[in-house]
């Protein structure tokens, strides 16, 4: 019997390490520590209900497990074979208990390729990776395929970059293979920086060998002998597991000189990023690895021609690499049979925001937004109304309810004004102000702009100032035109993708939620009641019982009124802190 305990960052922060320890102790006490194995795995994806403990061979999925539950799991489930009902996932719709993960709506529509081993194996044990066909794809490439055949296989599969832009991976590899050079590099971009995106971290934490193996395959296919994983230092667990995995692969001779008796040699080292968002842009990343400032370079020449230290370099994202081995083992036709005509395979999305099932979901391309939000995500939290979903992070856009039925693929999302991006998906409800959201993302890109080119450095700052004016109630209708013109210029004239996509959140909200902008400008009103300068707290005289609670709690003493008579808020002096609103015992204070 195997007890699988999630060891991803999310579950670890809710004490899953302690759960493992307690389970081991309880098993020892019951004298079953030889028969039963406790395995720390990567992320199961169902982060909303973590920590997760999954039991094989019974296929029982326990959610929200606490360290104190270990005794009951061992005494009841392990010893007596009885499922611990109170820890089983309950379907929020019908309240029905669903003991098997395979029956849960969250997993029902998922196809797991990149996440295939997350939750299935111990990421710190190379033997477990090998037992699920690990390193077979590398072996197959080395022993039976030419370099060109590997590249052709990827081309045929239709795999496109999962970092955001969606460039065909096979073409990138072909370009690097074509170059004649004494030295080539393979770089893995693990500088995941989009707010709310955590799929790359989960792959590195849950299945680091899949990335290492794919990098070695890329090395063989293009004639490179060195790989570098550029991973952010804020991902300590991913860094630790990568280091363990690299050391194990070296020990087994799966990295190093003359791998598996072939003439191919390959080694991998880590390069830690300090957390600048722009370093996720491939040429800025290369500068950072070289020890220079993280500023983008002009393209062309593309990295495949002149990359790291001026040598031909392939840069692929973590999730892209995670797809490579199954393509080689199962064939390009298998991969191309999943997804849409132009977007093949699956994409991992990180669901967050006002959604019931926060977590990681890997779905086939072509699935609709609605299916992700409603079926997998379980709908909007607290029964509120769906307003928008933000896709692609600071480079992406907000899509409204009317676009929920568009299929998820690179082209459809771009056409709608959003972007696949890395796959962050943040759901917003009726309490979110779209102008404020646009301002939030712009604030982020203004902060993270490297300052090399003017459109991004100055233009985004100006965009931000206009948005600030609007949320302060000082905007004019001309500002809307200015936003569009300036946004278009930044998009066209910026040097790198960071600048080119920075106006997206503004332009997409302006396109789909223009009425909210107009409400801020013309009516001086924030319909969602978010923008501080546009809301007022008012006492409803009929409801006020004159208890004086509000007046006594007001930090600026701007509420007046006698006992047992209706109180009044002095709008001039009110700082809109909202204390009176939350303290009033009879809900007589309203936000307007």
């Amino acid at each position: 019997m195997h007890l699988m305990v999630c060891g991803g960052t999310g579950c670890r922060s809710s004490q899953s390490v302690q759960i493992v320890e307690n389970l081991n102790q309880e098993l020892k006490k019951a004298g079953m520590d030889q028969e039963v194995q406790v395995v720390t795995t990567g992320c199961f994806g169902f982060c909303e209900k973590g920590p997760i403990v999954k039991i094989y061979p019974d296929n029982i999925f326990y959610v929200e497990v606490k360290p104190t539950d270990a005794a009951e799991i061992v005494a009841e489930h392990v010893v007596k074979g009885r499922t611990v009902q109170r820890l089983v996932y309950k379907d929020p719709a019908g309240g029905k208990q669903i003991p098997a993960s395979t029956d849960m709506p969250f997993y029902g529509q998922q196809i797991r390729i990149a996440l295939r081993n997350c939750g299935l194996i111990d990421p710190e044990n190379i033997d477990e990776y090998i037992s699920v066909d690990g390193y077979q794809a590398l072996g197959k490439a080395l022993s039976t395929m030419t370099q060109q055949q590997v590249v052709d296989t990827l081309k045929k599969s239709g795999l496109r970059g999962r970092g955001g832009a969606g460039f065909p991976t096979g073409l990138k590899w072909q370009a690097a293979l074509k170059q004649k050079s004494d030295k080539k590099y393979i770089v893995c971009n693990a500088d995941e920086g989009d707010p709310g995106a955590f799929m790359d971290r989960s792959v590195l934490e849950g299945d680091p060998h899949s990335v290492i193996e794919a990098m070695a395959i890329a090395g063989y296919a293009t004639g490179a002998d060195e790989g570098i994983v550029y991973v952010r230092a804020e991902y300590p667990l991913a860094v630790k597991r990568l280091k363990i995995a690299i050391a194990q692969a070296e020990e087994y001779g799966l990295l190093g000189k003359e791998i598996l008796g072939s003439k191919f040699s390959f080694r991998i080292r880590l390069s830690l990023g300090a957390g600048a968002f722009v370093c996720g842009e491939e040429t800025a990343l290369l500068n950072s690895v070289e020890g220079s400032r993280g500023e983008p370079r002009m393209k062309p020449p593309f990295p495949a021609e002149k990359g790291l230290f001026g040598k031909p370099t392939i840069i692929n994202n973590v999730e892209t690499f995670a797809n490579v081995c199954p393509i080689l083992l199962n064939g390009p036709e298998w991969f191309a049979s999943i997804g849409t005509e132009k977007s093949k395979g699956t994409k991992v999305f990180a669901l967050s925001g006002k959604i019931n099932n926060v977590g990681l979901a890997e779905v086939p391309m072509g699935i609709t937004l609605r299916e992700i939000v409603e079926n997998i995500g379980g709908g909007v939290r607290d029964g509120r109304t769906f307003k928008a979903v933000q896709i692609g992070g600071p480079s992406g856009g907000c899509l409204p309810k009317s676009l929920l039925d568009i299929p998820i693929d690179y082209e459809s999302l771009s056409a709608a004004g959003a972007m696949m991006g890395s796959g962050g998906m943040i759901v917003m409800d009726d309490t979110d102000c779209m102008v404020n959201i646009a301002k939030y993302y712009l604030d982020f890109t203004v902060d993270e702009s490297c300052g090399k080119c003017t459109p991004c450095r100055v233009g985004n700052k100006r965009l931000f100032e206009i948005l600030e004016r609007i949320t302060d109630g000082k905007g004019t209708m001309k500002d809307l035109d200015d936003l569009e013109v300036l946004g278009g210029t930044i998009r066209d004239a910026s040097l790198c993708q960071l600048g080119q996509t920075a106006p997206n959140p503004v332009l997409s909200t302006l396109k789909h939620f223009r009425d909210e902008y107009i409400a801020h400008i013309v009516d001086k009103r924030c319909p969602s009641g978010v923008c501080q300068n546009l809301i007022h707290y008012v006492v409803v005289a009929d409801k006020c019982i004159g208890c004086t609670v509000c007046a006594r709690n007001c930090p600026v003493s701007c509420i007046s009124g006698e006992r047992k008579t209706a109180h009044v808020i002095d709008q001039e002096r009110c700082t809109k802190c909202g204390v009176c609103f939350s303290k009033c015992p009879v809900d007589a204070i309203v936000k307007e």
């Binding site: 094989y56 296929n59 007596k80 033997d127 090998i130 008796g261």
Partner: protein, 130 residues
């Protein structure tokens, strides 16, 4: 661990390691066959643990990998412990009683491999699920 020097060595290692994770892969397969062994106090006292061990060993010997051997609670047939339920995905469950080590071997040899029921040992039959 000595370095792997060839594709053959890697393939052999994979086969050696297969049983580390096979149980998990089988566990989520919807077409798996489930053998449930009564492992409540009565089942364990009657030798359920040996029965379970034998089932696992026999399956391994025959190279059968689409079967999950699961411990379950008391089924109520305390007079016939240890009991084993055999459940194919498309058929009703068959319940065997007094499954000692010898009978456990028979279940694998006859029922699972050849598809022949052990009529003399059946103490209950369920209706088909699908």
């Amino acid at each position: 661990m000595a370095k792997l020097k060839s594709m053959e060595e890697l393939a052999k290692l994979r086969d050696d390691m297969k049983n580390r994770t096979e149980m998990r892969v089988t566990g989520t397969n919807p077409d798996r066959i489930v053998l449930s062994v009564g492992m409540a106090t009565c089942g364990i006292a009657a030798g359920g643990r040996d029965t379970m061990k034998t089932l696992v060993e026999e399956l391994e010997k025959h190279g059968i990998n689409n079967v999950s051997v699961v411990a379950t609670g008391c089924l109520g047939y305390c007079y016939a412990e240890p009991v084993v339920e055999v459940r194919f995905p498309d058929k009703g469950p068959i319940l065997y009683g007094d499954v000692d080590v010898k009978r456990a071997r028979e279940i694998v040899d006859q029922h699972l491999v050849k598809g022949i029921l052990l009529d003399h040992a059946i103490i209950g039959k369920g209706a088909g699920r699908r």
